[in-house]
């Protein structure tokens, strides 16, 4: 029996040393960044590492909903994260973020347009927790050769003519936004009757939908796989470059104006490096590089002034004049019960 215990002890000791290797050794500076997929010019990361000597450990997520539990669980500790508006207010409310010291990020105030901080107050009322990175609208991308009439309304997504030619967004809030807007409701609605009506509308639409997608909409539209897709404005510029028959439109019923911003989680280990990283991202030449690579609208006015191509600088897609559109809104956090309600209804749609 003694022998058994000895072997057990030895084995457990071996395992303890095995596990110990997982911890970070040494005093090397590093920053853990958690960002959307394909949402940065990889060259920029290299440049940051070269200029500052800080190693970037970079990770990607597909939706805000996927990002949140990872940061909340604390299993993976990130120093900089790039969530969207409503998710930022959820994170603030649940005490997951720390206040950003803007003194250490001079470029944030110098280069980012004041109007974006104004909009940001909807989810970060004191402008203390987030630094805008990208913004845009959600709209309809359609293939001119595959539709007959000019498109200006979400209702086209319910047109029998386009059965199997429609790509819908596969995220709760965006899907419900489309239905709620079409019904003339607020996309932040918590009214059960309105939400049930939206749910019914989405269920009615399901047979017409070819697929629910997030970013695959890009490839599928380029490859003429579908006629109409719901897409983020930033992707529209890229897809138009690859397929000139594609056109982007903001529907007349209104849509979502979103901002993705850098935030620092409360449990961040390398706050100083995180500040340096965010400041770097706000530099005009870096923001310009990112804009040219990912084609999502930048709130960095200094970078916008550097864009040489006049067509892009004045592009209605990249930098729309928002005063021309009605019923534009930004998502707000709906609370735990609101989230649960949306998720429940969305599951009903998906399982139909």
């Amino acid at each position: 029996m003694k022998k058994v215990i000895a072997v057990l002890l030895m084995a457990s000791m071996c395992m303890a040393t095995l596990m110990g290797c997982g911890a970070n050794g040494g005093g090397k500076q590093e920053v853990y960044v958690y960002n959307w997929g394909e949402y940065i010019d990889p060259e920029v990361l290299n440049q940051f590492e070269e200029e500052t000597g800080i190693k970037v450990i970079y990770d990607e997520f597909e939706t805000n909903e996927i990002m949140y539990p990872k940061v909340e669980a604390g299993a993976a500790v990130y120093d900089v994260v790039c969530p969207s508006d409503y998710m930022i207010s959820k994170m603030i409310e649940n005490d997951l973020l720390q206040k950003i010291n803007f003194d250490n990020i001079p470029n944030a105030k110098a280069n980012i347009g004041a109007q974006y901080y104004e909009t940001a107050k909807e989810y970060d009322p004191t402008n203390e927790y987030s630094v805008p990175y990208c913004w845009g609208t959600v709209g309809i991308l359609y293939n001119k050769t595959m539709v007959d009439e000019p498109i200006d309304s979400w209702s086209v997504l319910w047109d029998e003519k386009y059965k199997d030619n429609i790509l819908m967004q596969d995220s709760v809030r965006d899907a419900f936004m489309v239905a709620l807007k079409l019904n003339g409701n607020s996309m932040n609605s918590l009214d059960e009757a309105e939400l049930n009506a939206a749910k019914d509308l989405l269920i009615e639409q399901k047979p017409l939908v070819q697929a629910y997608v997030i970013d695959q909409v890009r490839d599928k539209m380029i490859g003429d796989e579908a006629a109409i897709g719901v897409i983020y404005s930033g992707e529209a510029i890229y897809t138009q470059r690859e397929n000139e028959n594609l056109e982007y439109v903001i529907p007349k019923e209104g849509t979502n104006v979103w901002i993705d911003s850098w935030v620092i989680p409360k449990n961040a280990k390398n706050v100083e490096c995180a500040e340096k990283f965010i400041d770097f991202m706000c530099r005009d030449d870096i923001a310009l590089k990112n804009f040219e690579y990912i084609t999502y609208s930048t709130p960095n006015d200094a970078a916008k002034a550097l864009i040489e191509d006049e067509d892009i600088r004045n592009s209605e897609i990249a930098f729309p004049d928002l005063t021309k559109y009605n019923n534009l809104e930004t998502y707000v956090y709906l609370g735990e019960d609101g989230d649960a309600l949306y998720n429940e209804l969305w599951k009903e749609v998906k399982s139909k």
Partner: protein
């Protein structure tokens, strides 16, 4: 006629199995960045692949995890086999039952259960968590391919070696090991393949900033796979193919000489 039908049937199945693979190899020569469009022939992805640090890091992780996890699994597996062989029938079937769990359990449940374990233990998710997970699901493949070899073994040779004064370890290495070697190798290879191909369990046990090829591909699926990934997979596939042909045809000639 019957033979022709049989050949046709096998051919159809092989087309079914290999059509996607041929597609991927073709895509690796596609000039256009999106898989939706054929933009002409190019070999440039095979060059830019080696400059892509992300993919190279993911490849390194994948191979390292596959190698280390199958090696550790093989060692633990062989030791376990010796013990299982010496067990009484009842305890043996219990141990075999436990061994079967990871093989028969759904990957998603295995992945989730390990994720919950690591979170509870407070281990930071990363290379080590993936490695531990892979070792766990690899051990059964080793045991199930080594154990039959032990059963076929003649125990008296081992005892004879002991009687002739060999230490147990030496006797094992000299007498037993050569006999179980084919099982060990096939178990190792099986474990290596399983580790290489695993996505689901890695998906739940990986942490920040670490990717294997599988998780890297899954995150790229949403945005469109980078053509370098097709190029890399083609290289891996072709080299394994060549290796297998060599392994399969070389020893045959040797055997003829025997």
């Amino acid at each position: 006629m019957r033979n022709a039908l049989k050949k046709l049937y096998i051919t159809l199945i092989l087309i079914f199995l290999y059509a996607p693979i041929v597609t991927l190899i073709v895509l690796s020569f596609n000039k256009s960045k999106t898989r939706a469009k054929w933009g002409g022939f190019t070999g440039k992805w095979y060059i830019s692949l080696f400059k892509n640090d992300d993919i190279m890091a993911a490849l390194g992780n994948t191979l390292l995890i596959a190698f280390v996890s199958s090696l550790v699994a093989t060692i633990i597996g062989i030791i376990a086999c010796i013990a299982i062989q010496a067990m009484k029938k009842r305890s043996r079937s219990i141990v075999i039952g436990i061994t079967n769990i990871p093989m028969l359990n759904a990957d998603i449940v295995t992945g989730i259960s390990l994720m919950l374990l690591f979170i509870t233990l407070g281990i930071r998710f990363g290379f080590m968590t993936i490695l531990l997970a892979h070792i766990s699901f690899n051990i059964p493949y080793v045991i199930l391919s080594v154990l039959p070899r032990f059963k076929a073994l003649n125990p008296s040779t081992y005892e004879a070696a002991l009687d002739l004064g060999a230490s147990p370890f030496r006797a094992f290495m000299k007498v037993v090991f050569p006999d179980i070697l084919p099982g060990v190798l096939s178990g190792f290879l099986m474990a290596f393949t399983m580790s290489l191909d695993d996505f689901i369990i890695t998906h739940f046990t990986k942490g920040a900033g670490i990717d294997t090829l599988s998780t890297k591909i899954y995150s790229e699926v949403k945005k469109g796979i980078k053509p370098e990934m097709y190029a890399l997979s083609s290289i891996i596939f072709i080299s394994v193919l060549v290796l297998l042909f060599l392994v399969n045809y070389m020893p045959k000639e040797n055997k003829k000489g025997d």
